[in-house]
Symmetry: C2
Subunit: 503 residues, 2 copies
């Protein structure tokens, strides 16, 4: 279907222009809210045209930077292109682009790392400043001006509502049959006018399938015909399969103990290969009648839907490998009956995560012996991607798993350390730690009990003795025995790694 | 009113016995859920009788310990008495007793520190083990067996529902006119059967004024006539008044900017002298039509109700100084119209805290330059009291303040440090840090921007240069510039304090 066919509102057809012309409408210093969540549904032509404009301006000695707000991570065409030309002053709330990350960690770009459920409301509250421009990918425009969302909803509703000017990118490569898959909740309000969110089952529809936007604000419409990032997944390796095995065994045990229903509770799964392996494991596992309530639907969950093990899935984005995307597109009518795409303030809402009793499974960088988790920083200082929705789900879920292989960087790094170099999830929010070595069920335990279990169950044997030695000496010589630590040594594993290349 | 007059159910009258006889019904190794929240509404006679029994057993060489679950802190008659005789194996979720704290930090007692909103559901989920006995203070029993709660609700509903055996302590000193002040919500359920909690205003009543308990489970009723802890407050000192001044000035600014309604949003205030001073400051301040939605109602909030500045307050406990208690008792009909006491899973519920848009104000032990907050540990290892409800409110509120004087221990400790020695509230959950020096508004800022502001606004001048020096060297020499740290030095301030008595 052509660009003109996708824009069924005649007045808006007149605002079609080139990406270059649209990019020229964005002023220096603007706060720009862009679509995009986990490499899905981000604008593609406009950011690249803007990057070219910025590059030319910088070459002419003119400063030009913007702040970029999104749903979550985007792709090289957005984060990469703008970061490469030093076009980003401040970025929020999550990114995973190598160039962007390099600039952040070189101190050349500000990055504000925010719980994904907080972003929309903080924008509404006015805490992030004024939103000047929204740049949002859609799959089409209805005759009455309503917008058909794309592969991610993210914060698009909020950006469209708040921005002074709106630039739409209509992506003719995204399937038109996405229409009807979305559920945009327009019942939010500012305190003190908020009401209960009327969602009691993961696939309840509480909104409408379209985004609204005041046509008077739409200053440009750009056509594009480019695919999403569509990163592939590594085939599950031994470690991932072992982690998946530990989780599935634990869930079976919990069902047997009467602490979980036989069809479990709605699953949330973070991004990445390990998470994908866990879902693959569930597909071969004993559970059926599953549901998903997550922020991004990846290959593993699509497989579960296709196999019938999972009945429905709710998320804010669909981020697939090329092969999975082909299946999704070919069978989109099947998936539309089983998938609901929501704004991320709803997909990740604490109210809903707690009400539904989500089983939260998120990857981490490292955990310490007392169960504090670092999801974001390497060696205490450098940002990896951001906290994403892990806090929304871990704090409010029924069960919160954090998973990682026990070793990183060829065994030079232990992912279980005396003290994490940065804390994103405190001991209060971390219930179950899983590595390929085993699973530590920390529920109801004191710090000393947790340490024993984490070292025994999760640490790699190469580092286990050293961790035991630390805890014994901290018990003997530390300043207190509730959470025994030797403060001169607590971060020495990281320091040693920085100094010698080995923890 | 006599004990017999307070127990209006004839069958239950027959179960009145001495505290000693009731204490004999608790088996060794039991998990015991006791009432009590911030020194209010805890059982008084039974725990002391149990402590005497344990002391005698220990003297005879018989081991005897129990695990004690409560709402929050209790008092010397409960935590103190049982800890003193080494009668507690494990304690959750919050305590503030000196003897209890000493045992925890000597490694002689396990302590599990849990968000207060999580406790009831974790007990229901079966995550904490089986609850053997409930020991709950009430003010009376209706003819049909329903229970009139006391000065705190805490987790009493859950303990009464879950325990095999129930021991009631009827405290004839608590005012009978408390009847009708409570709102016990019986609409909770386990996932996947949970429904929205139908509360949209701080003083909505969504439950009933009484606790239910299967009479068959009530194995003993003990009479007592003892007052609650009723700790006094220090008169607001200079530092507290300055902190209060900064907060009030900030709130006025936010109203002016249109980011808060003129009557603000519901206030949550942590315990202690500084929190009390902030409320005192509000009583002299420009705001009216205030509401409270907090976990414990202390003197400051009572003053606001009496003055008419505050229209209503919701909490799970009332914890007053002797003078304020006299006023409360004398004017209890006035206060009953303005105060609602709820279970702590409701008073602190993330769903409600976020919906209502709470202004959360909590004390802390220390903050670091990047805005991570330590609420629980001294020098990384020793437990002070516990996280309490600070996480429930800070994560989900509209605004989250963390306050402390900039110095502790006569200036030998800086409460702003390079890296906190324990993290309870991460950079993602901390919006505004206030000391007597000033206020740092961290909303929307990157770590480097936060550091600049926290050092400039909040650190004491005696430590400011050293903090600047650290950040400059960390920027220059650290492993990354997103959150610049020198890992060999990050905790050196605490180490130095332990070594030399001065940071």
């Amino acid at each position: 279907m052509s660009l003109a066919d996708r824009i069924r509102n005649p007045e808006l057809q007149s605002r079609i222009m080139s990406a270059e012309a649209a990019a020229a409408l964005i002023p220096a210093g603007a706060n720009v809210g862009m679509s995009g969540f986990t490499g899905a549904g981000y604008p593609k032509a406009l950011p690249q045209a803007l990057a070219r404009r910025i590059e030319a301006l910088h070459a002419a000695g003119d400063p030009f930077r913007i702040s970029v707000w999104t749903g979550a991570s985007t792709a090289p065409e957005l984060d990469g292109a703008l970061a490469k030309v030093d076009g980003i002053e401040m970025r929020l709330p999550f990114q995973s682009d190598p160039v962007c990350r390099q600039k952040i960690n070189a101190g050349e770009m500000h990055f504000t790392d925010i719980h994904l459920s907080h972003v929309a409301q903080h924008a509404w509250f006015g805490f992030l400043g004024h939103l000047d421009v929204a740049v949002v990918e859609v799959t089409g425009i209805l005759p009455d001006g309503r917008l058909i969302p794309s592969m991610a909803v993210g914060n698009n509703k909020t950006w469209l509502d708040l921005a002074d000017k709106v630039i739409l990118e209509v992506n003719t490569l995204q399937p038109t049959q996405l229409e009807g898959m979305h559920d945009i909740y327009y019942g939010t309000a500012l305190p003190p006018h908020r009401k209960p969110i009327p969602l009691v089952h993961p696939n309840d529809r509480i909104g409408e399938p379209y985004l609204h936007c005041d046509p008077a604000k739409i200053v440009a419409i750009v056509g594009t015909h480019q695919s999403d990032r569509n990163s592939g997944f590594a085939a599950p390796d031994d470690n991932s399969q072992r982690i998946a095995g530990h989780i599935i065994e634990f869930l079976q045990h919990e069902v047997k103990q009467g602490r979980l229903p036989a069809s479990l509770l709605p699953l949330q799964s973070g991004v990445g290969n390990v998470a994908n392996a866990v879902l693959a494991g569930l597909n071969d596992g004993p559970f059926s009648g599953l549901t998903g309530f997550t922020e991004v639907l990846q290959d593993g969950m699509l497989d579960l839907l296709r196999s019938g093990k999972m009945e429905s899935a709710s998320s804010t984005a669909i981020s697939l490998s090329p092969a999975a995307l082909a299946d999704f597109t070919a069978n989109i009518d099947f998936y539309r009956q089983r998938i609901v795409l929501r704004p991320q303030e709803i997909s990740n809402h604490p109210e809903l995560v707690r009400r539904l009793g989500i089983i939260a499974m998120n990857a981490m960088i490292e955990a310490d012996i007392y169960g504090n988790v670092n999801s974001t920083h390497t060696m205490g200082s450098s940002m990896m991607n951001g906290i994403g929705g892990s806090g929304d789900f871990a704090r409010n879920g029924y069960l919160s798993f954090f998973v990682t292989p026990s070793l990183a960087k060829g065994g030079t790094i232990s992912c279980i350390v005396p003290m994490v170099s940065h804390v994103d999830h405190t001991e209060h929010d971390v219930q179950i730690i899983v590595t390929e070595q085993g699973l530590a069920d920390l529920r109801g335990l004191s710090p000393r009990q947790r340490a024993k279990l984490i070292i025994e169950q999760c640490a790699h044997p190469d580092y286990r003795d050293a961790l035991c030695d630390y805890t014994e000496r901290a018990w003997r010589d530390g300043p207190g025995r509730h959470t025994p630590h030797l403060l001169d040594e607590a971060l020495s594993w990281h320091s040693r790694y920085l100094r010698t290349g080995h923890m």
